[in-house]
């Protein structure tokens, strides 16, 4: 009664079959999720246990046999079959994979000329991998073996992509498959654009596919970096924002989109090519230098802020927006009338012993052998005229930059000033600085004021205000507002620091498990706010009468947990960070001019956390009283340092030899204090403080005059 049925093409009709694993009610989650993740493990029934025991016994005997043939390097057909059997049961047997590699190498070395045989052997290997993957799709050994086979020059790469399409339609997020895909794509020279299209298809099938989003970011990075046609950031990034908006707004509880959004934000804010953010001295500034021991208590009563150093040199600081290498006398030209600066040595300032850093310092000598009169010298610095400054991502510093400053060298007044104790309570004058002066000091050269970036961020802010009910929505809005602050040309205009601070305060309450992260971000935002304009910064700036009217920045009682915005604070000579919540001094290493530092009443737990201070060659006065140093017997930050026992250096110096037991006990204090040229140290109010430690410190810091307010030498 149904004629002509066969006349129609019938493509894959849907027959009903009850699929129990799908019966659980999870309507809106993605298919792959239900299939692969979050299923509870069932308890074994007795008969299953018995079966698994017998399987284990079989596997053990197979394993023993296999180890024996492996040991005796037997590569006969039977032996190879045995390894196959083993791998089919247990694809995780890495030794068996290695054995097969050896076996293949063995045959290949004998039969290299026999192309057909080689091909059949490699085909066989691919088949073994396939059946292993059928057993366990996530077997590292199997995937690696497949890569190895392909690297042998097996020509079936085209098949691999077809195979992968099949894999990935079954488990679209499996990272093994995605990894392998990237590998296979490299081999086939398939275009990145095609792959990008593939990620788009996968995303439109299921936008929770984090792997697809990730691969998209990898592909785009590469296409943008090599400036492929149609891939300029100002066109492509806004397009990508549109795509990810659909994902985020459809399901704001899904992480994948947010991750990608964060990546996009990073692409929007950060420029690939490194830029010089700031320098000290800054362009057009005028610095007063005076030298020698007499720098304290300058007799001249002028309000002139003077930099003085017993080292007879001053630092020239370059601050880049990202870590760079290759800053040297050949990439940075310094023309000055100051003598003795022909071969400047540029040093990276970083805690790790790497040659990559955001901050680079060279010291210029200004002490002349002959008696000094106030004299004016012009110094001209040119950066990037010859290539060599390279970011850690491999991008060249490509915009040559030049700045000029003037140095006044003053006569040295000799006076025995070592008696003077620096007080953090008296001697500060409000610095009635002209904003002009400050502008010189915080002169930032914003070269990246690119319109599309600002527009993109502005649009994002508008959109995400709608999602600011949720935690991730609040966080993203805060990040966007910060991004806006970072890329706006004039830091003040239209930046709502109060809003950012409020968002992070909300988050600290809403999501206490990430409290410290929010607290840190809150601190960063607060410091951005403080440094956003000369007006706001000058509220925190003072001059310290007793030391040449040194510029003192007082950021006490702000509940800071992290240091930031140091690039705008390079001119600071005295820094008061007391009564905050700092755990470490990381970031301060860039502030090369600091001679006095107050860290009292913070949360520093060990001397290791002060490690960055070792870079501050000017530091003479340090207050770390009322912290938690020594409170925790097991200090996790110690593991970041090399073990004292592996370092024989200390046993060779004098202090080390004389006080072996104390150095062993206070090794972290020893390694930090040893490199600090302190005259005044306050350590009271820490667990570590005590008679024993007080007796130890002067040994390590021989020039110390004041310890906890007590004069050491009369």
């Amino acid at each position: 009664m149904k004629p002509d049925r066969n006349k129609f093409s019938i493509e894959e009709p849907l027959s009903l079959s009850l699929d129990r694993s799908r019966d659980d009610f999870q309507p809106l989650s993605s298919t792959s999720e239900r299939k692969m993740h979050g299923r509870p493990r069932k308890a074994y029934k007795p008969e299953e246990e018995a079966a698994s025991a017998s399987k284990a016994a079989k596997l053990r005997s197979l394993q023993t046999q296999f180890m024996s043939i492996h040991h005796h390097k037997i590569y006969t057909k039977e032996a190879i079959d045995l390894s196959r059997k083993l791998l089919e049961i247990n694809p995780e047997a890495y030794t068996a994979w290695n054995y097969r590699k050896l076996a293949v190498e063995d045959t290949l070395s004998r039969e290299e000329s026999n192309q057909d045989l080689v091909k059949s052997i490699l085909d066989e290997e691919l088949k073994v991998v396939e059946s292993a993957l059928r057993q366990n799709f996530k077997s590292y050994g199997a995937w690696h073996h497949r890569k190895w086979v392909l690297s042998k020059g097996h020509s079936s790469v085209g098949n691999e992509l077809r195979l992968l399409d099949k894999f990935q339609s079954l488990d679209s997020r499996n990272f093994h498959a995605w990894n392998y895909r990237r590998f296979a794509v490299e081999l086939t020279n398939r275009s990145k654009q095609d792959e990008l299209k593939y990620t788009e298809d996968m995303i439109s099938k299921d936008f929770s596919n984090y792997s697809a989003w990730h691969n998209r970011s990898v592909l785009l990075s590469s296409l943008l970096a090599r400036k492929a046609e149609g891939f300029t950031p100002n066109e492509k990034i806004p397009e990508e924002y549109k795509l990810v908006h659909d994902a985020i707004f459809t399901d704001e509880d899904d992480q994948s989109g947010w991750f990608y959004h964060l990546w996009l934000l990073d692409q929007t804010v950060n420029v690939e090519t490194p830029l010089l953010t700031s320098s000290w001295p800054s362009h057009g500034s005028c610095i007063n230098l005076s030298g020698g021991d007499g720098c304290l208590n300058d007799s001249s009563s002028s309000k002139l802020t003077t930099f003085c150093s017993d080292l007879g040199s001053f630092p020239l600081i370059l601050y880049f927006d990202q870590p760079v290498s290759g800053v040297s006398s050949s990439t940075v030209a310094v023309d000055s009338e100051l003598r003795g600066n022909e071969d400047l040595v540029w040093e990276p300032v970083s805690n790790k012993n790497s040659r990559v850093s955001c901050v680079w310092v060279a010291r210029l000598n200004y002490m002349s052998s002959e008696p000094c009169f106030p004299k004016e010298y012009k110094v001209k610095v040119r950066i990037g005229n010859s290539p060599g400054i390279v970011s850690s991502r491999g991008c060249n510093f490509s915009t040559p930059y030049e700045f000029v400053f003037t140095a006044h060298v003053h006569d040295t007044v000799r006076e025995d000033s070592q008696e003077v104790i620096v007080s953090w309570t008296d001697g500060f004058d409000i610095w009635d600085a002209q904003s002009k002066d400050l502008n010189f000091l915080v002169n930032l050269d914003q070269q990246m004021g690119l319109k599309w970036r600002q527009e993109a961020i502005e649009e994002e802010i508008e959109l995400f205000r709608a999602l600011s009910d949720s935690k991730i929505g609040k966080l993203t809005l805060a990040r966007l507002l910060m991004a806006k602050a970072m890329i706006s040309e004039n830091g003040v205009k239209g930046v709502h620091y109060e809003e950012i601070l409020e968002l992070y305060s909300d988050l600290m309450v809403l999501d206490s498990s990430h409290y410290r992260y929010y607290k840190d971000e809150h601190s960063v935002a607060l410091l951005h706010k403080v440094t956003s304009s000369t007006e706001s910064l000058s509220r925190y700036l003072f001059q310290y009468r007793d030391i040449n009217n040194s510029i003192c920045l007082r950021l006490n009682n702000l509940s800071l947990s992290r240091i930031a915005s140091v690039e705008k604070l390079l001119f600071v000579q005295m820094l008061d960070l007391s009564h905050n919540e700092l755990h470490s001094t990381e970031g301060l290493e860039a502030m090369q001019l600091i001679s006095c530092l107050n860290l009292s009443h913070n949360r520093i737990r060990s001397f290791s956390a002060l490690d960055s201070l070792r870079h501050l060659k000017q530091l003479r006065v340090l207050d770390v009283s009322h912290n938690n140093i020594g409170e925790h017997s097991v200090d996790t930050t110690r593991y970041l340092c090399s073990s004292p026992l592996s370092n024989s250096e200390w046993t060779e110096d004098e202090v080390g030899r004389q006080m072996t037991s104390l150095v062993t006990k206070y090794w972290d204090a020893y390694f930090v204090l040893r490199d600090l040229d302190l005259k005044q140290l306050d350590i009271a109010g820490n667990v570590i403080a005590g008679d024993e430690f007080s007796s130890f410190v002067p040994q390590v810091v021989p020039k110390l005059v004041w310890l906890d307010g007590q004069k050491l030498r009369s």
Binding site: L14, L16, D19, P27
Partner: protein, 554 residues
């Protein structure tokens, strides 16, 4: 009937149950009763095809079925029993059939399988699907997904129904905020369903209050701050409501409670993920809806049910003394006896035989006595055979026109289902378009259906005018052209249990079969006592290996 071959006599002549008509509810009953193992069942149909009002037919067969009139009962003469003549009353009125391209239809005459009860599709999580799986009749039918569903308006625009996470993501018509609101609403429903599935748990947080559940669904949607556009999509495109929910005062009898609305959403949502190879909530059986009753009939036949087509039942046989039901006389003249009888909704007692009946006899026949029609509502249906598709690149699609979307006086939603050759219901490049709407009277219903037709398709233009009109209106060119059209209004008859004689339901105005299946199951319970409907006997479908492994083939 005169040209039919003489009927061979049936043997045996006594059954537990005789069912007349092979519509969906009758076929479910037949399959269930024969599967119970203890009943002998005879299943008859006067038509030469299976499915009765649920059949899929060729265009000429469909035309003649819609136009068939009640047959005069042959003279009955029996001495042993009181004989009551039965007549076949047509359920259809205002039948209007137009052919625009007879040669095209002639050319493909054998390739149409057109549904009488269209537009009709099934949700993957429908009760009818559960029943098919349970009875094993799923082995006789193959389904394909309905690719897309749209909500339309008088402008001719069709907008996607964003019915799943993926669809919301891909939707181009919603703003980001609307996507967010809609998804949040779906999630709320989902959380509610999840929490109510672990019911009686006092600690579980009530996502929706009792108060909310009893309030009108449309008010609840407003409370969730959903914009009008999305409300309309949810009410008519997902919950598949017929009546306008926005003027609650006017249509108070049709207001849907939140509880019921949530149930409808649940059906839709569960449908989307039910079968791994289905994409979307709806599916349609290959070769037409007529395959469903056939599948149940096949199941019944396997279980011993006896089938005779082309066999009208001409009269009922009642006990002369008690007035109780005894059996039926077939068109062949043979008398067959049974305990119980279930009749097609279109069969009634001839009016002329009524006055002579005693009260006792009338009681036996009560379900067959025509009474004032309980439901004033009817279903206006339309079928268009069109060349081209209402939406480019999409063959099988559902389109819903919510109330007032076509014209201000439109009272009920019009549903449109387009099906293509992939479903083996029509030739390639041609689509079958089904339309329906619930209506109070024939005119009102046909007006709404015609309005939807004119929005979606282009009428046939006389040759001489054709070029002008194309030049004049570019967009009209993309609209499909109608080749054949049928309009008819169908009466709604509810099935009824009447002890010895019962009747089944006619096709209803819904898209799916849930209400029909429900009433069939209830009738089965009443007929058979509380016997379980289809014992779980058919686990012949292999369960999927749920290990992490996947099939790998080169």
């Amino acid at each position: 009937m005169s040209d039919l071959p003489p009927y061979p006599p049936l043997d045996p002549t006594t059954y537990d149950l005789i069912i007349v008509g092979t519509g969906v509810p009758s076929s479910i009953l037949a399959a269930a009763a024969s599967s119970s193992g203890s009943s002998s069942v005879l299943h008859l149909d006067p038509n030469p095809f299976y499915g009765s009002h649920f059949a899929s037919l060729s265009l000429p067969d469909l035309t003649s079925f819609l136009n068939s009139n009640s047959l005069p009962p042959p003279p009955s003469n029996t001495h042993d029993f009181l004989s009551v003549d039965l007549v076949n009353r047509s359920l259809y009125s205002s039948v209007e059939i137009s052919t625009f391209e007879p040669e095209t239809l002639e050319q493909h005459s054998r390739t149409f399988n057109i549904d009488l009860c269209g537009p009709r599709a099934v949700f993957c999580a429908d009760e009818s699907i559960n029943l098919m799986l349970k009875s094993g009749s799923n082995n006789y039918v193959e389904f394909k997904s309905v690719d897309a569903s749209f909500v339309g308006d008088s402008s001719g625009d069709l907008r996607n129904v964003p019915d799943s996470r993926g669809a919301i993501f891909k939707d181009k018509g919603l703003t980001l905020l609307e996507k967010n609101q809609l998804m949040k609403f779906f999630k709320l429903v989902q959380t509610h369903l999840a929490s109510s599935s672990t019911e009686h748990d006092q600690t579980a947080v009530k996502v929706m209050s009792e108060e909310d559940m009893e309030s009108p669904f449309v008010e609840f949607l407003s409370k969730m701050r959903l914009p009008q556009k999305i409300k309309s999509i949810i009410l008519y495109g997902i919950a598949m409501l017929d009546h306008d929910q926005d003027n609650i005062e006017e249509t108070c009898e049709h207001v849907l409670k939140t509880k019921e609305g949530i149930d409808r959403l649940a059906l839709y949502i569960t449908s989307i993920s039910r079968f791994s190879n289905a994409h979307g909530a709806l599916m349609y059986p290959m070769y037409g809806q007529g395959e469903l009753p056939q599948a149940f009939c096949r199941r019944a036949a396997v279980k011993g049910c006896i089938y005779v087509l082309r066999m009208p039942v001409t009269s009922l046989l009642l006990d002369k003394e008690t007035g109780g039901y005894k059996g039926v006389r077939l068109a062949s003249g043979q008398e067959i006896f049974s305990q119980k009888l279930v009749l097609d909704p279109s069969i009634t007692v001839g009016v002329e035989s009524l006055p002579s009946l005693t009260d006792q006899q009338k009681e036996t026949l009560r379900v067959l006595v025509p009474k004032a029609v309980s439901s004033k509502e009817k279903i206006a249906r339309g079928i268009c055979i069109i060349r081209g598709s209402v939406k480019a690149d999409i063959s099988n699609a559902l389109v819903v026109y919510p109330p007032k979307s076509l014209f201000p006086e439109q009272l009920t939603a019009v549903r449109v289902l387009q099906l293509g050759s992939g479903l083996a219901v029509c030739p390639p490049d041609i689509h079958a378009l089904y339309l329906s709407t619930v209506c109070g009277d024939d005119n009102q219903g046909k007006t709404a259906v015609l309005s939807a037709i004119s929005t979606l398709i282009r009428p046939q233009v006389p040759e001489d005018l054709q070029t002008d009109s194309i030049a004049e209106n570019d967009t009209a060119v993309t609209k499909p052209v109608v080749i054949w059209r049928a309009l008819y209004v169908q009466e709604l008859v509810k099935g009824e249990f009447g002890g010895e004689i019962s009747s089944t339901s006619s096709p209803d105005g819904n898209l799916n079969y849930n209400e029909i299946v429900e009433s069939a199951m209830k009738l089965y319970e009443q007929l058979m006592g509380n016997k379980e409907l289809f014992k779980e006997e058919t686990e012949n479908t292999a369960e999927e290996d749920d290990g992490d492994g996947v099939e790998i083939e080169d």
